[in-house]
């Protein structure tokens, strides 16, 4: 029963949504409004999941004094302080909460991703090898697209941006369209599997 009832709910709601998509009747619209209002009221609680999971991981490390537990303390203190500052002093521009976001969260998350530039440069030197004819074609297409995107490409030859555009509009487009159709059909199949109760991983483990 612990699995059956939730699966029934998905099935019933799912098929009501299929009907809603095709039938613009008032009952259908009312059903949608009802669902929307409830979905809104459910949504804020999802954040609790994140906090609990983070608290469990780092709380355990701190209480057990696991190796490097001090860093976990940094995470927990940062979480508590940031959240508290938002509740105490508000969230407007100029508050400690916004200061933390702008000068701690923003620069670090941006820098985290920028590290990838170094890794891709290193991979370009060490890993991108023309081992086969297919790999060579891939590398040549990549080089033309790379040059086609920067002003320098046009200065080398006016053909480079043209060829780059052609690659994107013709062979790339054909490839991505075929993949998109495949993915689209896959999405439809997965959605149907969820609606019919065949795909159940989203329910989590247990009975």
């Amino acid at each position: 029963m612990k699995r059956q009832i939730p699966l029934m709910i998905v099935m019933i709601l799912g098929f009501l949504f299929v009907i809603h998509t095709f039938v613009p009747h008032k009952i259908s619209a009312d059903f949608y409004d009802w669902w929307q209002e409830w979905a809104k009221a459910i949504s804020p609680f999802a954040v609790v999941l994140g906090v609990i999971s983070l608290g469990m991981v780092h709380g355990t490390k701190i209480s057990r004094k696991a190796p490097n537990w001090q860093y976990s303390l940094v995470t927990v203190l940062a979480l508590v302080f940031t959240a508290a500052s938002g509740f105490i002093w508000g969230r407007q521009e100029g508050t400690p909460y916004m200061w933390l976001f702008k000068n701690v969260q923003m620069p670090m998350s941006a820098t985290m991703f920028s590290l990838l530039a170094f890794y891709i440069a290193s991979a370009a030197y060490k890993a991108f090898r023309a081992r086969s004819a297919e790999a060579t074609v891939l590398l040549i297409a990549a080089i033309i697209v790379m040059l086609g995107q920067v002003p320098l490409g046009m200065q080398i030859s006016r053909w480079i941006p043209d060829i780059s555009t052609w690659i994107l509009n013709v062979p790339n487009m054909a490839a991505k369209r075929a993949i998109m159709i495949g993915v689209g059909l896959g999405m439809v199949a997965t959605s149907l599997k969820i609606l019919l109760g065949i795909e159940r991983t989203y329910l989590g483990g247990g009975d």
Binding site: K2, I9, V10, I12, L13, G14, F17, V18, F22, A41, I42, S43, A46, L49, S53, L54, T75, A78, L79, T82, A83, A84, F87, Y97, W99, K102, Q105, P107, M108, S109, T111, L115, A117, I120, E134, V137, L138, A141, I143, V145, Q149, I167, L168, N169, P171, N172, A174, A175, K176, R177, A178, I179, M180, I181, G184, V188, S191, L195, Y202, L203
Partner: protein, 197 residues
């Protein structure tokens, strides 16, 4: 150079220090980032979601029926409980129902519209190439038949199209990664050191 910029620049360098090797500065930055990010979300969601969609309807508008979805939402808490985790399925399945809408809509946008524009008259070399590319790749992903003989040769054409497509994606990926680094260096040289005008 303000204190704010100094802190932002110091933390930026903490993260960059990972390029040399794993070190305490990087770990400190990484853990601080996780904490601040989560701590940041809590008051924001409280103010902009909990208050207008839960608190206000129930306590100010006296629309008591909203207590039911609020209780449903609260069941998320049991997600990590050993015996009661099944309760957390209810808020999840309530949202999941909308996949019913994604069936016809995805079929339309991802499959039908794409197929429709793939059926252009084959009156120039580019439309012919697009047609060949799309069909041969679709055949390549058809795994019920072994890719041998004449069929294998046809699907092999699809592989070449895909390689060009992946090359284009790869070229753009390089571009994206470099752009992100440019952004950080613009911050360090411009906003922090004032060297770019």
């Amino acid at each position: 150079m303000t204190l704010s910029n100094f802190v932002a620049a110091f933390l930026t360098l903490c993260i960059f220090s990972f390029l040399y090797k794993e070190n305490p500065f990087y770990r400190f930055g990484e853990h601080l980032l996780v904490g601040v990010s989560m701590g940041y979300a809590i008051p924001l969601i409280y103010d902009t979601v909990f208050i207008p969609y839960v608190y206000r309807p129930i306590f100010l508008d006296h629309n008591y029926i909203i207590i039911i979805p609020a209780v449903l939402g609260f069941l998320y808490v049991f997600r990590y409980s050993k015996n009661l985790s099944w309760l957390a399925r209810y808020p999840i399945v309530f949202g999941m129902g909308i996949v019913g809408m994604s069936v016809p809509m995805s079929m339309h946008s991802q499959v039908l519209v794409q197929m429709k524009t793939a059926m252009l008259p084959l009156d120039n070399i580019n439309t012919i190439l697009i047609f060949i590319g799309t069909v041969t790749i679709l055949l390549y992903f058809f795994f019920s038949k072994a890719h041998k003989g004449a069929y294998g040769k046809v699907t092999n054409i699809g592989v070449w199209f895909m390689m060009i497509g992946f090359g284009a994606s790869f070229g753009y990926t390089v571009m994206a990664r470099i752009s992100l680094l440019i952004g950080r260096i613009q911050f360090l040289l411009g906003d922090f050191l004032g060297l770019i005008k």
